[in-house]
C-alpha cells in the first residue's frame, strides 16, 4: 500500500510539473475579434512571451494584434477576417522550430510575424520555406539570415520566404561605431558579446568599423548569458583603460553588466544595439546607466508623423504592455502580410486561391506601403529598403533620441 501511495504521489508531482510547463504555450492565444462571415486568415506570431525578453516579445504580439484589428475594422481586405495566433518561443531556437511546425500545420496561417531573436529565426527559416509560408521578422538583425553565411564576400539569399522590416547588423554595428568615434569622441573601446548569433555579429561589425575609423579595441570579452556575475569582466574593463564599452547582446545581461562596470569604478558609457533598447535595460542598469547608448533600427516611432496614429491607436486599445523597441516594425510586418493577402485575394476574384501560401510569399516581394516606420518595401534579399537608424541615450530614466540618420557605408 505504501508503495502505491508513493507512486501516486510521484505521478501527481510529475503531472503537476507538466501542467505548469504547458501553461506557457497556452496563454498567448487569441486577441482579435472575428467579425463574422467570409474567410479567416490567421497571422501567426512567434516571440518570447515569457522569460527575460518577454517585454519585447509582448510588444510584438500586441502590435501585430493591433494591425489585425485595424484591418478588420477598416474591412481592408474584402471578405477576409484576420485573426492572430501567438506562440511563445521563450527565445529558444528549439521552441521556435516547434512553433514553426505548428504554424505550418494550421492551414489558415498565411503569414507569420517574428521571431525576436536571430538565433531563433535560423531554426525556423527552413520549416517555413519548405511550406512556402511567408515569415516577416520585425526584429532579426543578423545579416546572414537574408544574405547567406558568406554575406561579407558573396551575398546569396538562402530562403525566399523570409523577410524582415528591421535593418541588419551589417548597418547597425558600423552606424554605432561612427557615432561613438565621430560624435561621442571615444577612441578606446572594450568589446563584449554574449557569443549568440545576434550579439557576436553586432560586436564584429562594430569593431571592424571602429578600427577602420582609427579607434582602438583595447580588450574583448565574451560573457555567459546564463550568469549575473560580471564582476571579473567589470574589473578587466576598468584596468583596460577603455573610455567606452560596446556590448553585443540583449538587455537582461546588458543592464547588470552596465551597472557592474560602473560599480567597479569605470565611469564609461556602455553602447549596445537594438537588443538593449528597452525600458527594462534602464531598470536593470539603475541610476548609473545614465549616458548609456543604444542604436535602434528606424527613426524614433514617436517622432514620425506616420507613427502618431499607431501610438494613439495602441494606447486606445489598452494593451497592458508597452510596444517597446519593435512595436512599429511588428505592426508594419503584420501589415505587409495583410497587403500581400489583399493583392492575392484581389488578383483571384476576391477569393483565396488554393496555393494561397505560395502566392502570398510571392506577393510579399512586391509589397510597398507607407507604414509606421516609414516606407516599407523589401530588396532582393528580403531586407527592408529603409536603412534608417537612431542612436538613443539614457537620460532621466528614459531613452532619448540623440541622433537619427541613414547609414552610408
Amino acid at each position: 500500500m505504501r508503495q502505491r501511495s508513493l507512486i501516486a504521489m510521484t505521478a501527481a508531482l510529475a503531472a503537476g510539473a507538466l501542467t505548469l510547463t504547458a501553461c506557457g504555450s497556452r496563454d498567448g492565444d487569441g486577441g482579435s475579434d472575428s467579425n463574422g462571415g467570409g474567410t479567416t486568415v490567421v497571422i501567426g506570431i512567434d516571440a518570447p512571451l515569457t522569460g527575460d525578453l518577454s517585454a519585447l516579445g509582448l510588444g510584438i504580439k500586441n502590435s501585430v494584434d493591433l494591425a489585425a484589428k485595424t484591418a478588420n475594422k477598416e474591412k481592408y481586405v474584402e471578405g477576409v477576417t484576420f485573426k492572430v495566433e501567438a506562440l511563445d518561443d521563450q527565445a529558444q531556437p528549439s521552441a521556435g522550430q516547434q512553433n514553426a511546425t505548428k504554424f505550418v500545420a494550421n492551414k489558415d496561417v498565411l503569414g507569420v510575424v517574428g521571431p525576436l531573436n536571430s538565433s531563433v529565426a535560423e531554426s525556423m527559416q527552413k520549416v517555413f520555406d519548405d511550406a512556402k509560408l511567408v515569415q516577416v521578422s520585425p526584429a532579426n538583425t543578423n545579416p546572414a539570415l537574408t544574405q547567406g553565411p558568406d554575406w561579407q564576400t558573396s551575398k546569396a539569399r538562402p530562403y525566399k520566404s523570409y523577410f524582415r522590416t528591421a535593418t541588419t547588423d551589417a548597418i547597425q554595428g558600423p552606424f554605432a561605431a561612427q557615432y561613438v568615434y565621430n560624435d561621442a569622441k571615444k577612441k578606446k573601446v572594450f568589446v563584449i558579446d554574449d557569443k549568440k548569433t545576434y550579439g557576436a555579429g553586432l560586436a564584429a561589425t562594430f569593431s571592424e568599423e571602429f578600427e577602420k575609423l582609427g579607434g582602438k579595441v583595447v580588450g574583448t570579452e565574451h560573457i555567459d548569458p546564463e550568469t549575473k556575475d560580471f564582476s571579473a569582466v567589470a574589473t578587466k574593463v576598468k584596468s583596460s583603460g577603455a573610455d567606452v564599452v560596446y556590448y553585443g547582446g540583449e538587455y537582461p545581461q546588458a543592464g547588470p553588466l552596465s551597472k557592474q562596470i560602473k560599480a567597479a569604478g569605470a565611469k564609461i558609457p556602455l553602447v549596445g544595439g537594438d537588443g538593449i533598447y528597452s525600458a527594462d535595460f534602464i531598470k536593470l542598469a539603475g541610476a548609473s546607466g545614465t549616458g548609456d547608448l543604444a542604436t535602434s533600427v528606424g527613426a524614433p516611432v514617436e517622432d514620425l508623423p506616420s507613427a502618431k496614429e499607431f501610438v494613439a491607436n495602441y494606447e486606445a486599445a489598452g494593451y497592458k504592455e508597452a510596444y517597446e523597441a519593435y512595436g512599429g516594425y511588428s505592426y508594419d510586418s503584420a501589415w505587409a502580410i495583410i497587403e500581400a493577402v489583399k493583392q492575392v485575394v484581389e488578383g483571384n476574384n476576391g477569393e483565396l486561391p488554393d496555393d494561397a501560401r505560395a502566392k502570398v510569399t510571392e506577393a510579399m516581394q512586391g509589397v510597398t506601403f507607407d507604414g509606421v516606420t516609414g516606407k516599407v518595401s523589401f530588396d532582393e534579399f528580403g531586407d527592408a529598403t529603409n536603412k534608417q537608424l537612431t542612436v538613443y541615450s539614457v537620460e532621466n530614466g528614459a531613452w532619448k533620441a540623440a541622433k537619427s540618420g541613414t547609414y552610408e557605408g
Binding site: 510521484t10 505548469l20 518577454s54 550568469t227 571579473a232
Partner: protein, 310 residues
C-alpha cells in the same frame, strides 16, 4: 593597474554565495545520502520570500535597515517551509526506495517550484527588482567593495560560525553527527532520526535563504530561474570541498568563485589560450578544476568529515 586583489575579492564574494548554498547540499547529503537537486529552487524561494516581505508586507518606503532583518526572516521562513514540506511529502515516502527515485523526484520538484513561481507570483515572468542598499562603494587600497556586497561579506562568516557552533556544541548538532555516521545505531541510542533529517533540511534552507538575500542585494534582482545555475554551482562547490563536510562546502565555494574570477581575468593572457579565457569559459575551467580535484583527491578537498561513515 594590478587587478589581482580586486579579482580575488570578486571571486571570494561570488564564492561565499556558492558556499552558503552549498551547505544545504552537503548537510542533506551527509545525513540521508540524497542529492537534493531542488535545493537551488529552495534558494530561489528564499529570495522571493524576502522580496514578498518587502513588497507586500512592509509599508512602502520602510528603511532598509528595518526591512532587511525582516526580509531575511521572511526569506528564511519561506525557504524552510518549502524545504521541510519537500522533505515530508516528496522525500520521506521514498526514503527506503532505490536511490534513483528521490533523485528524480528532486528534479521534478525543482521544475514544479520554478514553474509555480513563474505562474503565480505577480510579475515573476521576468526579473523583479530587489531593494538596494544606498551609499557608494567602499575603497580599500586598489580594491572596491560594492555596498550590496557588504551584506554578503558580513553574513557569510557569521552564518558559518553559527553553523559550526550548532553542529559541534548543541545536542541536536551532535545528534546530526551521530545520524550521519550511522543512522541505525543512532536510532538505537534514542536519537529521533526523522527529526534530525528535518533539521538538516531546514538548516540548509535557512542558509540558502541568506544566500538568496545576498544575491538580491548584489545583483539587484531576483527571477524564477536564479536557482538553477547557482544551485548547480553550489552542488559543484559541495563536491569540490568534500560532499558531507560543511567546512568543505564553504571552502569549495570559495575555491570555485576564485577559480571563475581568475580564469576570466588571466587565462586569455597565456599565449595560445586567447580564445579560452573569456567569462563564457569560466564554467569550463571551474569544471576542469573539479575533475582535477576528483582525480587526485576523490573525497574532495577536505574529505567527508561530518558524514564519516564507519
Amino acid at each position: 593597474m594590478n587587478e589581482l586583489p580586486q579579482q580575488l575579492v570578486n571571486g571570494l564574494l561570488l564564492g561565499s554565495m556558492y558556499g552558503l548554498v552549498a551547505i544545504g547540499y552537503t548537510m542533506v547529503y551527509g545525513i540521508v545520502q540524497l542529492i537534493n537537486f531542488a535545493h537551488g529552487e529552495i534558494f530561489m524561494m528564499g529570495g522571493f520570500g524576502a522580496l514578498t516581505v518587502y513588497l507586500y508586507v512592509l509599508p512602502d518606503g520602510t528603511s532598509l535597515w528595518v526591512a532587511l532583518p525582516l526580509m531575511l526572516i521572511g526569506g528564511i521562513i519561506v525557504a524552510v517551509l518549502v524545504a521541510v514540506g519537500a522533505e515530508r511529502f516528496a522525500y520521506r515516502p521514498l526514503r527506503t526506495a532505490p536511490r534513483l527515485a528521490p533523485l528524480i523526484t528532486a528534479i521534478g520538484l525543482s521544475l514544479a517550484l520554478q514553474q509555480a513561481v513563474w505562474a503565480w507570483y505577480p510579475d515573476a515572468r521576468s526579473a523583479i527588482t530587489f531593494p538596494q542598499i544606498d551609499g557608494g562603494p567602499f575603497e580599500i587600497g586598489s580594491v572596491t567593495i560594492q555596498t550590496g556586497d557588504v551584506f554578503l561579506l558580513v553574513a557569510a562568516p557569521i552564518s558559518m560560525a553559527i553553523l559550526a557552533y550548532f553542529v559541534m556544541k548543541t545536542r541536536t548538532g551532535r545528534g546530526m553527527q551521530a545520524t550521519a555516521q550511522d543512522p541505525d545505531t543512532a536510532k538505537l541510542m534514542g536519537i529521533n532520526t526523522d527529526r534530525i533529517i528535518v533539521v538538516a533540511f531546514a538548516l540548509g534552507a535557512a542558509f540558502a535563504a541568506v544566500g538568496a538575500v545576498a544575491y538580491g542585494l548584489k545583483y539587484g534582482e531576483v527571477q524564477f530561474r536564479m536557482g538553477f545555475i547557482l544551485g548547480l554551482k553550489a552542488f559543484t562547490a559541495a563536491v569540490l570541498g568534500g560532499i558531507g563536510n560543511i567546512y568543505g562546502a564553504m571552502l569549495g565555494g570559495l575555491v570555485l568563485g576564485v577559480a571563475e574570477a581568475l580564469s576570466t581575468a588571466y587565462i586569455s593572457d597565456i599565449p595560445g589560450m586567447d580564445q579560452f579565457g573569456s567569462q563564457s569559459w569560466a564554467n569550463v575551467w571551474a569544471f576542469v578544476l573539479l575533475i582535477l580535484v576528483l582525480l587526485f583527491r576523490p573525497q574532495g578537498l577536505l574529505g567527508e568529515r561530518v558524514a564519516d561513515r564507519a
